[in-house]
C-alpha cells in the first residue's frame, strides 16, 4: 500500500513552513511591537505575545496629517519610477536583445557598468545637478533620481526576457501581415509580460525603499522611508515598528498580486550574454 503522503512531500512542506517562518518572523515582531504597550516590550525578557494590547501607536501614525503626505509621495514616486522605467527600458531592451551577440554582450556589460559606482559617492554630484535644475521637493526630481539606478537594471532584466522569445514567432507574425510594431505589441510584449512584471516590481520596490536620494532632494516633504528614518532617530521603538509595518504592507500586497508573473526562468535569460 502506497503511503498517502510521501516523506519528500512532508519534508518539502516542513522546509516551506520553516523558510516562511524565517521570512515572516521580523514582520510579526514589528507587528507585535506596534500593537503592544511598554509593559510587553520594555522588559528584560519580552514575551512573544501581546498581553497589553494598544492601538495608540497606530492611532498616532494613521492620522491623515502624519501618514497622508509621505504615503502619497512614496506611492506617486515609486509608481512613477516603475512605469517610466518599464516604458523607457522595454523598447531599448528589445532592440538590445535583437543585436548581434557580440554587440549585445558589450551593451549589457555597459549597462551593468553604470551600477558599479557606490551610490554614496555619486549621490552628491547628482544632487548638485538636480538642485541646479530646481528639482528639489518635486515628485519628478525624485523619480528621475531613482531612474538613474533603475533603468540599467530594468533594461538588463528585460534583455534577458526578450532574448528567450523565439524569433520564429515574430517571423510568423510578419508572414501573417503584422508589421514590426504590430508584432511587438501583439506577440512579443504578451510573452514578455512576466519579465516586465518582475522588472516593474524591482523598480517599484527600489524606489519605495530609497532613502539616500530622498535625503538629498526633499526638504519640506517626506517619503515613508524618510518618516521611518525620522522616527528611528527621534521617536520610540513603537513609532519605528508601526511605521515599518506601514512601509512593508504595500510591498507584500504588490508582491502577492504580481507573484504569478514571477516564475522560474523569468530571470534565467538575464544572465545570458
Amino acid at each position: 500500500v502506497r503511503a498517502a503522503v510521501s516523506p519528500g512531500t512532508v519534508g518539502f512542506y516542513a522546509l516551506a513552513v520553516l523558510f516562511a517562518g524565517m521570512a515572516l518572523l521580523p514582520l510579526l515582531l514589528l507587528l507585535k511591537v506596534s500593537l503592544s504597550g511598554p509593559e510587553d516590550v520594555l522588559v528584560q525578557h519580552p514575551a512573544f505575545g501581546v498581553y497589553h494590547p494598544t492601538l495608540e501607536h497606530w492611532q498616532a501614525v494613521l492620522k491623515p496629517e502624519v501618514i497622508g503626505p509621505p504615503l502619497r509621495k512614496s506611492l506617486v514616486v515609486a509608481t512613477g519610477t516603475a512605469v517610466l522605467a518599464v516604458l523607457i527600458a522595454t523598447p531599448a531592451a528589445y532592440v538590445i536583445a535583437r543585436l548581434p551577440r557580440g554587440w549585445r554582450y558589450g551593451v549589457v556589460l555597459a549597462l551593468l557598468f553604470t551600477r558599479m559606482f557606490p551610490e554614496v559617492i555619486i549621490a552628491t554630484p547628482i544632487a548638485v545637478t538636480f538642485l541646479r535644475a530646481g528639482l528639489i521637493d518635486t515628485d519628478i526630481g525624485l523619480i528621475l533620481a531613482h531612474l538613474i539606478r533603475n533603468l540599467p537594471f530594468v533594461a538588463w532584466i528585460l534583455v534577458g526576457t526578450f532574448e528567450v522569445i523565439p524569433r520564429d514567432l515574430e517571423e510568423a507574425s510578419w508572414v501573417d501581415g503584422n508589421g514590426r510594431l504590430g508584432t511587438l505589441w501583439s506577440v512579443v510584449l504578451p510573452l514578455a509580460a512576466p519579465g516586465i512584471a518582475v522588472a516593474a516590481i524591482f523598480a517599484w520596490l527600489d524606489s519605495w525603499n530609497d532613502l539616500l536620494y530622498a535625503i538629498y532632494l526633499l526638504l519640506a516633504e517626506r517619503t515613508l522611508p524618510l518618516m521611518t528614518y525620522y522616527f528611528a532617530n527621534r521617536g520610540s521603538v513603537f513609532d519605528v515598528a508601526t511605521f515599518s509595518v506601514v512601509l512593508t504592507v504595500p510591498v507584500l500586497v504588490l508582491t502577492l498580486l504580481l507573484q504569478r508573473y514571477i516564475r522560474a526562468g523569468t530571470l534565467g535569460g538575464a544572465v545570458k550574454g
Binding site: V83, I215, S236
Partner: protein, 409 residues
C-alpha cells in the same frame, strides 16, 4: 499585462486619494517680510513647542513666514554641501549639533559671523563662547547648550545594595558587581564609533587628566587603561549604544546605568513610563569630573537667500523670553544666565543633574580636523579597550595620525 495595469491604476488611485486627504504640503505663502527656511533636528514633541513658542511669535512680530525643516545633523552637512556646490542655497538658518560643526567650517558651508559678534547676549556664560569659534573666527551663535547626564535604575542598585558610582573606582566596582552577580554586564556606555564614542572617550580622557588631542599624555594613557579594565564588565550591547538606542537599553532594563543627553528622561520616564530612574551628573576620575559640552548652535549657510532676516531670527532664538519658554516647555538648558526658571516637577531631578553636569562641562577642541580625531579615538578605543592591545605603543601610533591630520590642515 492586465494585472500589471490594474496594480498601477490602484496605486495611482491610492496616491491620489492620499493627496486629497493630506494637509497642504506645498510651499507656504510668502510672509510680508519674506519666507525664512529654518533647519533643525527635533522630535515631534519638540517641533510642536518650537512652532508654538518660537515660530508663531516670530512670524507675528516680524510679518515673516518661517518654514521649518526637519533634518538630522549628518544629513544637513550633505544637503548643505550639495546646495552650496550647486549655488542654489535655499536654507536660511540652521541649528546644528555642536559635535558636527567642524565639517561645516572645513567645507566652507557657513558664513563667518565675526562681524555680528555683538548679537551674542551679554548674559551668555563665558564657557559657551570657545565652542562657537574656529581659528579665532566666529561661525556660530549660542542657542541650546547641553550635556550628558547619568541615568541609574535605582531599584536594581538597591537590590544589590549598591549606590550609583561617583568615582572611577566606584564605577569599576559597580560594573564588576553587576557582571559577577547577574552573569551579564549592566553598565552601558555609548560605544558606537564616531561622535557617540568621541564624547565618551573625551570625557574619560579629561577625567583622567588627559587630552583628546594628545593621546600620549600620561592622563590619556591612564584613561585608556581604565576603560580597558572596565570593558569586560560593560553590558555587551554597549557597542551598539548611542543617543537613541541607549534609551531602549535602559528602559528595557538591559542596562542599569548609562549616560545620555537629557532628552532621554523624556523618552525613558514619560514615553516609556519607567518610574525607577534616578539621574545625577556623573563620575569623576583622578583629575575630576568633566563632561563634553554638547547641544546646538545657530549657523547661517553660505549664500543664504535671506541673511538679514535669518540674523533677526537668530537674535529672537537667543532672547530671554524664548530661552525661558524652551526651558519651561522642553527643559532645554538656556544659553543665558538670566533665563533659568521653573520646570515640571517630574523633570526637576533630571534638570538638577543637567545643571550639575553643565558646571563641569568643557567644549571639545574646536579644530577643523575634529572628525578625524573622533575616528582616531574610536579606532584607539577598539584596539586598546576592546582588543586589549598595550596602551602606550598603540596610543603613540594613533597620536601620529592626529599629528598628520593637524599638519594636513
Amino acid at each position: 499585462m492586465r494585472g500589471i495595469l490594474a496594480v498601477v491604476l490602484v496605486l495611482a488611485l491610492v496616491g491620489g486619494a492620499c493627496n486629497g486627504a493630506a494637509p497642504e504640503v506645498v510651499a507656504p505663502p510668502m510672509g510680508e517680510a519674506g519666507t525664512l527656511r529654518v533647519v533643525m533636528g527635533l522630535a515631534e514633541a519638540e517641533w510642536r513647542v518650537v512652532r508654538e513658542v518660537v515660530i508663531a511669535p516670530f512670524e507675528q512680530e516680524t510679518g515673516a513666514r518661517v518654514v521649518p525643516v526637519q533634518m538630522e545633523a549628518a544629513d544637513l552637512v550633505r544637503q548643505l554641501d550639495a546646495q552650496v556646490q550647486a549655488g542654489a542655497v535655499s536654507i536660511d538658518l540652521i541649528t546644528q549639533d555642536n559635535n558636527q560643526l567642524a565639517p561645516l567650517v572645513a567645507k566652507g558651508l557657513v558664513e563667518d559671523l565675526t562681524p555680528f559678534r555683538d548679537l551674542i547676549p551679554a548674559e551668555t556664560p563665558a564657557s559657551l563662547l570657545p565652542g562657537l569659534e574656529f581659528d579665532g573666527r566666529l561661525y556660530f551663535l549660542p542657542y541650546r547648550p547641553n550635556v550628558q547626564i547619568t541615568y541609574a535604575l535605582q531599584d536594581h542598585f538597591a537590590a544589590h545594595g549598591l549606590e550609583p558610582p561617583r568615582t572611577w573606582d566606584e564605577l569599576l566596582a559597580v560594573g564588576r558587581t553587576f557582571a559577577t552577580r547577574e552573569k551579564f554586564g549592566r553598565v552601558v556606555i555609548q560605544g558606537v564609533p564616531g561622535a557617540p564614542l568621541g564624547v565618551v572617550v573625551s570625557e574619560f580622557l579629561w577625567q583622567g587628566g588627559g587630552d583628546p588631542l594628545n593621546l600620549t599624555d600620561a592622563g590619556s594613557v591612564r584613561a585608556f587603561e581604565f576603560m580597558q579594565e572596565l570593558e569586560p564588565y560593560l553590558a555587551p550591547v554597549y557597542q551598539t549604544a548611542k543617543f537613541d538606542t541607549i534609551n531602549t537599553y535602559l528602559a528595557s532594563e538591559t542596562a542599569y546605568l548609562g549616560q545620555n543627553w537629557p532628552f532621554g528622561a523624556d523618552v525613558i520616564v514619560r514615553q516609556y513610563r519607567k518610574r525607577n530612574v534616578a539621574a545625577y551628573s556623573g563620575w569623576a576620575g583622578p583629575a575630576g569630573e568633566y563632561h563634553v559640552l554638547g547641544g546646538e548652535v545657530i549657523g547661517i549657510p553660505r549664500g543664504a537667500p535671506r541673511r538679514e532676516l535669518a540674523l533677526k531670527f537668530a537674535e529672537f532664538l537667543m532672547s530671554r523670553p524664548v530661552q525661558e519658554a524652551l526651558l519651561q516647555r522642553l527643559a532645554w538648558p538656556p544659553m543665558r544666565e538670566d533665563a533659568f526658571g521653573a520646570v515640571a516637577e517630574w523633570q526637576q531631578p533630571f534638570f538638577a543633574a543637567v545643571q550639575g553636569a553643565l558646571r563641569q562641562a568643557r567644549a571639545r577642541p574646536n579644530v577643523v580636523y575634529w572628525g578625524e580625531v573622533e575616528r582616531v579615538l574610536s579606532d584607539a578605543f577598539r584596539d586598546v579597550v576592546v582588543n586589549k592591545q598595550p596602551a602606550v605603543p598603540t596610543l603613540a601610533r594613533y597620536q601620529a595620525q592626529i599629528e598628520q591630520a593637524r599638519a594636513a590642515r
